[in-house]
Symmetry: C2
């Protein structure tokens, strides 16, 4: 038993007693990550990285299906290049890590570790694009980025994190706008199809948008503690960067035009979302389609004749049917194996002992609701697709119910403050469109505008904060 594992079976902090500590406990005891000596830089352990690989696989397929190509841009950005777009600099310069020494010598120009790669893509596009025939360019890259953070938490906020960043340029504004919303759709589907997380989609207010973007769109998720988590964003840049970097093309009509640009990113932060949406007091609860191990077989009294043979047979059947299955025939006790399977959130556990064998049955336990059922061994494989589908759907439904139960309208600012202070979740409120009101809300309550939801309700005609005419309904919440 490893050092970590001896601690595994001991209780973790209760989720409702101390959510932050519970989160950290799950991250470490489910062996998703480990800390290092460099603050904010974590190790993605095999189990955590495998979750990310499953997310990557889903997304990479969708990206390619929609005509995107992967590239790799350099890790380091010359400072002068980094400084070329003013808003972008203002947003990112404070949190950069800077290389000043290379090959034992002081560099003549300092190099910035990419916090995001807009400027590199812009510089490249300006070199390779000259005609409408070269457009669109729809590039994506998988990499890590570095942003110097003062307060860090595994997966949620780190000085380094893994992500994908898409960067596209288009001949027309319409096409660029379609790209921004199309990619948001794909992000939203990651929640629906893979993570069993219902996102709320919408547009960011100007205060909350990306440094350098004209518009930012977002998928927002609600965590079990009632806080929101921005889980992915897509940006419409218009021609701002393109003008700063002179990305022009000769159009069909012969005229010289500037391209319209987008970028979009989604990160390992999603692993944090999975933990905080689905986890419970026994640890992680993984939705089946993203789980590195979907089914764990635990033989009971495995020294008894026939038990391991039957367990291996079942393993092979499930494996050959294309599911991610593991058989734990180690010398640990079944109780220990159950606890580990629960801590790691494995969706389905199959127990198989001598008595079960006599009846040709096994016990199938579903992690998300703890239900146990006797199932004929011969029926396990054929029932698995439906079982995983049901688990996924019910986990999604529970999460959606949590969102619905914790989204409350506020018709007055007093009501808003009361709900934000005493209830978890989102508050919907009309808004005048002025940043002053957002600022006041943040100062009074720490809540922020999560998004202007695509699906709008009309709750009233005025902004409850300032009394002026309301232009939009906004979703507010305290957030990570």
């Amino acid at each position: 038993m490893s050092k970590d594992q001896t601690k595994l079976v001991k209780e973790i902090t209760s989720r409702d007693a101390d959510f932050a500590q519970w989160y950290t406990d799950v991250c470490r005891k489910a062996e998703l990550m480990d800390y290092t000596d460099a603050k904010g830089f974590i190790i993605y352990r095999p189990y955590g990285y495998a979750i990310w690989e499953n997310i990557q696989k889903y997304m990479d397929f969708e990206f390619k299906k929609t005509g995107h190509e992967n590239v790799y841009m350099p890790l380091l950005i010359p400072e002068s290049l980094f400084m070329r777009e003013a808003d972008h600099v203002k947003g990112f310069a404070p949190e950069t890590a800077i290389v000043t020494i290379g090959g034992k010598e002081e560099l003549t120009e300092r190099l910035i570790i990419r916090p995001t790669s807009e400027v590199l893509f812009c510089e490249h596009y300006s070199k390779i694009v000259s005609s409408y025939r070269d457009l669109p360019k729809k590039y994506n890259q998988w990499c890590s980025v570095v942003r110097w953070e003062k307060t860090t938490r595994p997966f949620l906020r780190g000085s380094e994190f893994l992500w994908q960043e898409g960067h596209t340029i288009h001949a027309t504004e319409n096409e660029a706008r379609e790209e921004v919303l199309g990619m948001l759709d794909i992000y939203n589907n990651v929640g629906k199809d893979l993570l069993a997380i219902p996102f709320i989609t919408g547009k960011k207010t100007d205060k909350e948008k990306f440094a350098g973007a004209e518009e930012t769109y977002t998928i927002e998720a609600l965590m079990h503690d009632g806080k929101a988590l921005q889980s992915g964003t897509t940006h419409y840049f218009g021609t701002g960067f393109a003008k700063a970097f002179n990305i022009q093309f000769q159009d069909k009509d012969g005229g010289l035009k500037t391209v319209f640009q987008t970028s979009w990113g989604l990160s390992t932060r999603l692993i944090g979302a999975i933990i905080m949406v689905h986890g419970d007091d026994s640890g992680l609860v993984l939705p089946p389609y993203v789980a590195p191990v979907q089914v764990l077989i635990v033989p009971i009294q495995q020294h008894k004749e026939g038990v391991l043979d039957e367990a291996n047979k079942l393993f092979n059947e499930i494996n050959n049917a294309g599911f991610r299955v593991r058989l734990d025939d180690s010398d640990k006790s079944p109780g220990w194996k159950f606890a580990e399977a629960e801590m790691k959130g494995i969706p389905v556990r199959i127990e198989l002992g001598p008595r079960d064998l006599e009846n040709g049955e096994c016990v199938v336990v579903t992690r998300y609701n703890g239900e146990k059922k006797n199932v004929a061994i011969s029926a396990v494989v054929s029932q698995l697709p439906e079982l995983l589908k049901t688990i996924h759907q019910e986990m999604y439904d529970v999460a959606l119910e949590n969102v619905n139960n914790n989204t409350r309208p506020a018709l007055t600012y007093d009501e808003f403050k009361d709900i934000i202070e005493h209830k978890p979740g989102y508050v919907k409120m009309m808004w005048c469109g002025e940043q002053a009101c957002e600022d006041k809300i943040k100062e009074d309550t720490t809540a922020t505008a999560r998004c202007i939801p695509f699906v709008q309700e009309h709750l009233g005609d005025t902004c409850p904060v300032c009394g002026k005419k309301a232009v939009k309904e906004v979703l507010f919440a305290k957030a990570y």
Copy 2:
């Protein structure tokens, strides 16, 4: 037509006139990469990155099949951690890039961008391993590393490159040694199965081994200009690092023991190998199984009735059969499309025009030998698997013949110097085992010991350089 493409159809430098310039021309005009303002940091463009993705896919599958797990370690290494293994420091410290500023503040401890991650894996292993039950740990990571290089060339030697680095620890020396040779086998198979490159496998001399390793094994490839390219290495560390990092475990017998360790890495340098082994005066020549596009369909007189319909039909058939196919129905001329397909080394080009249609035929052109054949349209898909197999095999055979024709034995040191000076390729010679003789050879000729081949020949009893008793046959060459 893009800025790059207008240059594409113009001639590139002849391979035999100026190999170095030819190489750079191919890298850029086949749109594999582009330079950036930071010296030695290149952009992997979609076509180049897609080659790497195909290599990754093959290797990742093999790694997982043999029980390896992917992880991700931090980009930055605290300087004190980096300094813990003396040989390693000596080897890598001179070429490190160092972060001294984070979040606008001078760091209290400098952070080194990983040139390789041994120390991070060691530190982590020392924390998570305590019992024989925790062993082996077989981890791999896909990432980029930074090594400050004075002379850089695309793919071959860069200040940043993409690679995988495997790091494993084992309870016994035997198991670790098996790992080192097993991974070398997988590397060797990448050449056989995917790149159509015959590697020579063997052990590095102590002079040429990895900084901190007890033994280094290598796959060596011979380029068209007669120089060798080290294409992948695996290392046996014994307990050197493990002792410096205190990676111990309690064995079955209760005793406290130190783990045996390995690491192994293979990089985007392989893209350089593909170019220099197979390329010709018309550009890149890609082996079919690693080619991002295996088949290009070029319609001739595509405005004529039926041509595009038939081309699309054929595209769909080939696509549905699982091949990577593209149809170029742009408004460029067929001649331009042919030149581009040749520059990009697409293995199979299919030409389809009105006259072909009348006969129910198309023209199939194979890039590696320029052969054209009329093939019934209805037979194309069914013949493709065999065609790709033949192309792969013949490309491999040509490359192997080049190795065989350019590997010469030297029985005296004069003969050695004469061959090295006047002939391309490898020279086989007996060796006494002393570094002094390697040093002398390098000083006299610039050639280095590429490896002590696994397949040994007995060419004599003494070392031709010093006259002492020979212990091994060594393969020497000038190298990249």
